[in-house]
Symmetry: C2
Subunit: 219 residues, 2 copies
DNA sequence: AAATTTATTTAGATTCATCTAAATATTTTT
DNA sequence: AAAAATATTTAGATGAATCTAAATAAATTT
């Protein structure tokens, strides 16, 4: 049995790897789990001893097949719980990440299995992230960054890149929600901000900072 | 914020007190949380320092008002989660206690609140235990031990006294379930076992060991 | 290629929850 | 009331996860 902390590290390595597919550095991991590099070195050794990661001193760390499997199950649990909180308990998408961080560590195969069934095997969580199935498999939808769309094009919001409370609440304020249609009206070359129209309705100005956090399926 | 361990101790004191309303001894508590008396003494001091318990060395410990409030909320969460697992996720009543032991420590006022609402404010959990409301209030139903019923009397099963997996599965095997009607057919004076009829249907022999674990509402 | 900067590891300390063994207090028995 | 048994506390140690500071390795700059 793994401790909650060991699980946290495994998932952190997995998530860093998602964005940057190579050896994960001690510092990157330390930043991700909000601890010191020294603590990371300790934990990495522990995980390596359990053969959940491959570790080369000074070079970095990567998950073993078993490590990937565990991390994937954690991601699965996390996203299922988020889906549950939004769909069944009427939580906002900005509130669920933090609670799911706790729930994902509840042990019980059957619990995940039944939760998945109860939710009718959802494929994506409230932030558009894919939910791995019991075997750890999931599919990615066609998606590209909103910032890549040209003037005149439009797309459907299918995924957000951050789970940060304040970011999601900001989207709420702009009335940007999952599945909405975004049409590019104008583009400022200087700072790459864009004027967009949402659901053929209201128009808002989006900074580059935000447009690079939104994934759309082009229309 | 309390650690999971501190919460466990508070709830343990609460539960011991439910059965035996007086100062809780170090040993009783040690037995309940499955640890050594020495560890209990340490933890008690910690809780006393936080004013969650009153502690007199060599005499025992009892919860402060704040301690009671916290313990009650834990019991509330535990029983709500058990109810959720049985009613929504199709778990057996024999499976839920262990999982709820974990879920009860998930922090979030809103989570409990919404869960309660989702379940439509249940008053009792799958084992017939009362669920405290958000203010910590709950009502006890009229109930007495099955072992107190006389031959000829009958009652409805409203509560079981143990959550042990093997005990509950044994009841399953005997087809004794919450809400069933139990009619006393015979009573053996020697070992206080009883022959009972369930739901006017099948008859089984019940040992004293079991009949003192079942609460019924007399018909 | 040497010097400097940055990243990583090691060493040593701290806190939490636990343990065993020893000391002490309380309760029960004789 | 003394002795014996039991319960509780204290003392000292351990493992997990963390920290800071120092040592060392690797990468970058000059
Ligand atoms: Mn999340
Ligand atoms: Mn998510
Ligand atoms: Mn229970
Ligand atoms: Mn219960």
């Amino acid at each position: 049995m793994l401790t909650k902390t060991e699980e946290r590290y495994l998932k952190a390595i997995y998530k860093i790897n998602e964005l940057w597919p190579s050896l994960v550095s001690t510092n990157a991991l330390a930043h991700k789990v909000r601890t010191s590099a020294a603590s990371v070195t300790d934990m990495i050794k522990k995980l390596a001893a359990k053969e959940l990661v491959f570790y080369e001193p000074y070079k970095g760390v990567r998950l073993s097949a078993q490590g990937v499997a565990i991390a994937t199950q954690l991601v699965r649990k996390h996203r299922l719980w988020e889906t549950f909180l939004v769909q069944k308990l009427d939580f906002e998408w900005s509130e669920v990440h933090e609670i799911a961080q706790h729930l994902e560590h509840i042990p019980s195969e059957k619990l995940v299995q039944q939760l998945d069934r109860f939710l009718d095997y959802p494929k994506f969580d409230p932030h558009g992230d894919p939910i791995p199935n019991a075997e750890g498999k999931f599919t990615l939808r066609e998606q590209l960054l909103l910032s890549r769309l040209e003037v005149g094009q439009s797309g459907t919001l299918v995924r957000v890149k951050s789970q940060q409370n304040d970011f999601l609440r900001h989207l709420d304020k702009l009335q940007i929600s999952m599945g909405c249609t975004i049409h590019i009206l104008e583009r400022e070359n200087y700072d790459q901000s864009m004027l967009i129209q949402i659901d053929n309705h209201h128009t808002v100005m989006l900074s580059k900072q935000i447009s690079i956090m939104l994934f759309v399926r082009p229309a």
